[in-house]
């Protein structure tokens, strides 16, 4: 039992410095402003070998709102070849896997993780998620903190079916830094996990965390109005930089200019409705776009505004009460956002929660149904697949089962919206990276070698 302290208090995520945002890598985005014109710290990820595979007879949720009973999914060479019904022929040379009674979804995607930058064991030496020395650190990049040996990656894969995840800086800072989007493959280097071509995001944070961290040191911001003042001043400076010649390397302004150019996405940690509405106006004032609000426990109060602004809400199912700005969290949040026509993403912000994004979505769906909002299973699956991918700027590459997209696929041993189901097999770019039925397809991080329970089911 963890030290008899609330998890959020014990860790430094949601409550303390926590939570939120930022994203991946952009060949395009990062190049601009870089003197060399080349993407630094480029992805070296290559898909692992796979065999042409046919999943036959399963219920397929394609992630894009489609559902096929007794369906067939074909993938080869790392990509989905075709998705169809029982009449879809299985070409010669494909390994056939019987999916009768089972379910197939796209690989699960977590838009909000701190795996690797707050890895387990959660010792102080591992706290690499918040550069809490200045409220504006857009020059920091989460990928420079990620420890690829974090055992949490393997749990997310095996128990959660997670194939792609966005690692964000924490929320101590108003501008926390760039995120990195990873393929959930074990690797020796972070570069070998980086999702090729994923755009970067910039993590920003509203509210209590920045003002507490810096106000506590007698410096700005110590209030919410101080938060906005620092944001606006910083954006004005960034605009001046962006409108200039950009000849001198300036890591902070390269990130901010990337946002103003529309090439770096904004993942904004923000709980309260009124604050989100203010941030939307700031984005109008400074001429940039907010892609997603993270945590967003009060999105249900302004779901109409969020729909009009085209901003996603990345939310938990039912967290509440751990801090003042989370006091009005309700379990119907996701359903109410969805019902208003706005975009819902289920996120974890948690090394345990990432193992159960499907379950969190199912709870949120049921809470909606009890108030009369009936959201079909096939739409709910999208909350932690395609919607997440789109809000990370990789929706054309993964997040749904569609011909030509990455073969990131989970075969579940039952309905993924049931508590009784688990991933049975997980493919990343067509390579079988986890198999519950084959011990040799169970990754063990360096850290866990020689430890009690090495190679155990976890």
């Amino acid at each position: 039992m963890k030290r008899f302290a609330p998890p959020a208090l014990a860790s430094c995520l949601a409550l303390a410095l926590g939570a939120c945002a930022a994203t991946g890598e952009g060949d395009v985005a990062s190049a601009r402003g870089a003197a060399s014109g080349e993407t630094p710290y480029a992805s070296t990820y290559r898909a692992y070998p796979g065999v042409p595979t046919a999943l036959v007879g399963a219920t397929i949720f394609d992630g894009a709102g489609g559902r096929i009973e007794n369906g067939t999914v074909l993938f080869e060479n790392g990509a989905v070849r075709a998705v169809g019904g029982a009449d879809l022929a299985v070409p010669a040379g494909f390994t056939r896997i019987d999916g009768a009674g089972k379910f197939v979804t796209p690989g699960i995607i977590d838009i909000h993780s701190h795996l690797g930058d707050y890895p387990t064991p959660s010792v102080q030496a591992h706290e690499d998620g918040n550069e809490a020395t200045d409220p504006a650190t857009p020059e920091a990049w989460a990928e420079h903190s990620v420890w690829p040996q974090d055992p949490g990656f393997t749990r997310a894969l095996a128990n959660g079916g997670v194939t792609t995840l966005q690692i964000l800086p924490g929320s101590a800072n108003l501008f926390g830094g760039r995120s990195v989007t990873l393929k959930n493959v074990p690797a020796r280097t972070v570069q070998a996990m980086k999702f090729p071509g994923a755009p970067y995001s910039l993590k920003m944070a509203c509210g209590e965390n920045p003002k507490r961290v810096y106000g506590g040191r007698g410096r700005m911001p110590s209030t919410r109005m101080g938060n906005f003042a620092v944001w606006r001043e910083t954006w004005l400076d960034a605009r001046e930089y962006a409108d200039g010649k950009r000849e001198k390397r300036d890591l902070a302004n390269e990130t901010l200019a990337g946002v103003l150019d529309g090439e770096i996405l904004i993942q904004h940690h923000c709980y309260r409705a009124d604050e989100m509405a203010m941030v939307l106006d700031m984005a109008r004032e400074m001429d940039y776009k907010v892609t997603a609000f993270h945590h967003a426990v009060e999105s249900y109060k302004i779901a109409d505004l969020l729909r009009e602004a085209g901003v996603c809400s990345a939310v938990w199912a039912d967290w509440y009460g751990f801090k003042m700005e989370a006091y009005d969290g309700i379990p119907e949040n996701a359903a109410l956002i969805h019902n208003a026509g706005a975009c819902v993403v289920i996120h974890s912000d948690d090394a345990n929660g990432i193992q159960r994004l499907n379950q969190e979505a199912a709870k949120a769906q049921a809470d909606g149904l009890r108030m009369g909002i009936d959201i079909p299973d096939e739409d709910v699956i999208g909350w932690f697949t395609l919607n997440a991918a789109r809000a990370m700027g990789i929706g054309e590459r993964t997040g749904s089962l569609q011909a030509g997209k990455m073969a990131d696929v989970v075969l579940w041993n039952g309905d993924p919206l049931s508590v009784y189901s688990r991933p049975e097999k997980v493919w990343i770019d067509g390579a079988l990276m986890y198999d519950a039925l084959d011990r040799s397809r169970r990754p063990v991080s360096d850290f866990e070698l020689g430890q009690p329970g090495e190679g155990d089911v976890k």
């Binding site: 208090l9 249900y300 009460g321 801090k323 309700i330 090394a351 379950q359 709870k363 049931s418």
Partner: protein, 460 residues
């Protein structure tokens, strides 16, 4: 809440509401899938009868006595109220708002003497929300702060009334392992020395003549076999020369060391568990309960042989610390297979008590993973009902639908362990409970986000 008491309850809302008086009422739920909570599998088409605030009968072929109003279960599920072991229910409004949070007392000179009972707020949203999740009884503890001893925990019910505490000072909690080591001065060695010193002082104190203070009989009704230690009502509570333990703290440990009050011990590492079990060689009367035990499966045989029960967080599967390297979701199943009595618990902080069914359901899911150890459905439900009740000292009286047990009954809209299910009606001591809270009111207000003719503030 005692079943015979009469309370003025808020009106139960909703179409499904009984035309119910506020007090305990005789009722039956028929035509339901009834899970007794004792580890057995659910019984289809069964009936539960509650009379005088207690379960009168439950099972198939049970007749509804004349004069008892019957609720048609319509094939839905009925369970005992959930028993939530080791919680911080009623101790905070907002965790990070220190003024509202009574879970720890870092700056207090006291440790073992701390008693959460007077601080528990029955009107807290945390309690209301958990009640709506089907939780009807719980054990409550503070967190260790300035001392390795968290102090004395209480048993509560979650009824909508002003008497939450069923049994104050129901157990003492101490943390050993990493947390205890840090608090005690920097190492496990220091924690064990501090712990032994405290228990020896309590032993000495216990051997002295009881203080000439009358137990204020009638003021506090424990409702069980654990008397109040008279010493707690008199004497000086100020710190003596020995800064390691106040006299008040030592007195509070007398019932621990003489075995009248259970000692909950927080440890995770296999070696730490064995060290705790070995304490009984030195202090033979200790009634131990292990809390945490993330590596319990590594020493499951030893735990089983000791007869010491365990309260664990079953889904912990990461090496969050160096004392949890062996953590696995199969921990609980393996301990149960070895014969250990294990409850799901540790619902503190963000681990909300209403998550208990989801956690139990996940253990059922493990049965289909080769190499993993799960629980049967009946065992999983028992792990959040009868087993935690037994470990808390309410065996046979709570967490089970058996004749004579408290009338804590939950009617669910589906399989209670499934993600999509929720309580429809909740009874505590036979009294139907309101399920409304801050969250349900917000939900109703923002069903549509737009204002109507007046601002949202006028919709309530």
């Amino acid at each position: 809440m005692r079943f015979a008491a009469t309370f003025s309850l808020p009106l139960v809302l909703g179409a499904a509401a009984l035309a119910a008086p506020a007090a305990a009422q005789d009722f039956a739920i028929t035509n339901a899938t009834v899970a007794l909570g004792d580890g057995s599998e659910p019984i289809p088409n069964a009936t539960v009868v509650v009379r005088g605030g207690r379960v009168a009968a439950a099972g198939a072929g049970v007749a509804v006595p004349a004069g008892v109003s019957a609720i048609d279960g319509q094939g839905r599920w009925v369970t005992p109220g959930l028993f939530s072991a080791v919680t911080d229910l009623g101790l905070w409004d907002v965790q990070a708002v220190g003024e509202s949070n009574d879970t720890d007392a870092d700056d207090s000179p006291f440790g073992a003497a701390l008693d959460v009972a007077p601080a528990i707020n029955p009107a807290s949203q945390h309690i209301k929300i958990s009640r709506a999740g089907g939780v009807t009884r719980a054990s409550v503890t503070g967190y260790p702060g300035g001392s390795i001893f968290a102090g004395q925990g209480a048993l509560i019910d979650l009824g909508a009334d002003n008497s939450a505490v069923l049994r104050p000072r129901a157990f003492q909690l101490v943390t050993l392992g990493e947390q205890g080591g840090r608090i005690a001065g920097g190492s496990r060695v220091a924690a064990h020395a501090l712990f032994r010193n405290a228990l020896r002082e309590a032993l000495n104190l216990g051997e002295q003549e009881p203080l000439a203070v009358d137990t204020p009989e009638g003021d506090v009704d424990l409702g069980d076999d654990i008397p109040i230690d008279a010493r707690l009502f008199g004497g000086e509570a100020t710190r003596g020369a020995d800064v390691l333990l106040t006299r008040f703290d030592a007195a509070a440990l007398v019932p621990v060391v003489n075995g009248r009050q259970p000692l909950y011990v927080g440890v995770d590492r296999a070696a730490d568990i064995l060290s705790v079990l070995a304490l009984r060689e030195e202090f033979p009367n200790l009634r131990l309960v292990l809390v945490g035990a993330a590596e319990g499966w590594l020493v499951a045989e030893e735990i089983a042989a000791s007869g010491v029960p365990v309260i664990t967080e079953p889904l912990v599967d990461l090496p969050d610390s160096f004392e949890q390297l062996g953590a696995t979701q199969s921990n609980m199943g393996r301990m149960v297979d070895a014969g250990v009595k294990v409850a799901i618990g540790g619902f503190m902080g963000d681990n909300q008590p209403r998550y208990a069914p989801q956690q139990a359901g996940n253990l059922v899911a493990l049965n289909r993973i080769p190499g993993a150890a799960g629980l049967s459905w009946g065992e999983a439900l028992a792990a959040i009902t009868s087993v935690p009740a037994e470990i808390s000292g309410m065996g046979g009286r709570a967490g089970v639908l058996a004749p004579g047990a408290v009338g804590d009954v939950v009617l669910w809209d589906g399989d209670p362990l499934e993600l999509g299910s929720a309580p429809v009606r909740v009874f505590i001591d036979g009294v139907e409970q309101p399920l409304e809270n801050h969250q349900t009111q917000l939900r109703d207000r923002y069903r549509t986000p737009q204002e109507d003719e007046l601002p949202k503030a006028y919709e309530w």
